[in-house]
Symmetry: C2
Subunit: 156 residues, 2 copies
């Protein structure tokens, strides 16, 4: 039961594949009117979702401190992707919501990701791709949204 691949190739390929997809996403997003969006932004906006959140809650879903979440929110707000509003039910809370511009970025991202997946399906075959997804699902934790690694993406 020998293996062709040295063990360290697998993680590296996983990382490269991830980066490739993200890079292609952002190339295409830039072409579609979102030149300034950064990988992290998309990630966080996905985590915010159409319903909105708060800083603490966002920090929890992303697996980072509320302060870090707060800073990220500052950035996204400055760039115009999200906005803060005070919760009338609880004056302490500030609801974070996507702006229309943010919504646009999000729906475009979703569409581009579908396109990219379709390209993989063409290259690999739909069945192989499904197998790949299923295998990855089997080997990874349920929670999709952990972003806790420090400095995971970069730079406004």
């Amino acid at each position: 039961m020998s293996s062709d691949a040295p063990g360290f190739e697998l993680p590296l390929r996983l990382l490269l594949a991830f980066r490739s997809l993200i890079d292609e996403l952002h190339t295409e997003l830039a072409r579609q009117g979102h030149p300034d969006i950064r990988p992290m932004h998309g990630f966080v906006m996905q985590a915010i979702g159409p319903g909105g959140t708060t800083a603490v809650e966002l920090g929890r879903t992303l697996g980072v401190s509320k302060q870090a979440a707060g800073k990220t929110i500052d950035t996204l707000e400055r760039v115009g992707y999200i906005e803060r509003a005070t919760d009338p039910q609880d004056t302490r809370r500030k609801i974070v919501r996507l702006t229309p511009y943010g919504m646009d970025a999000l729906t475009r991202s979703a569409h581009i990701f579908d396109t990219l997946r379709a390209r993989w399906a063409t290259e690999l075959g739909e069945d192989r791709l499904r197998a790949l997804e299923s295998d990855l699902r089997k080997m990874t934790p349920a929670n999709l949204w952990r972003l806790d690694t420090p400095g995971w993406f970069g730079t406004l």
Copy 2:
């Protein structure tokens, strides 16, 4: 041709799978006498290799500036994984080499990665895993060692 998976699941799974493997690696490394090693260290030591390099060269293979490579080298040196020696052929250059401690970490990493891959093979079947690796190879660039994303791993 409908697909079960939303397009954005694929990149997320790839990232999670990568992170899982790396986390498991470092849990095990800690158990084997390398508690202080960080993901980046292993990455960089792999890139240095048994032959040694220089800061500029390392920067190139990793896709970061020579200054960044230099800082990383400082850190690794401080922790005792690598050492600098002047090149007798070219006094400007400083050869960066793994210390025995660094070598130990590297060989242990390789072994652990093989073990982790074997676990995947058990869970998924050797054939499925090979298919997965082959598919990833098909969809990713040749150069395994790009670490250029700012702050790709963190801390210490």
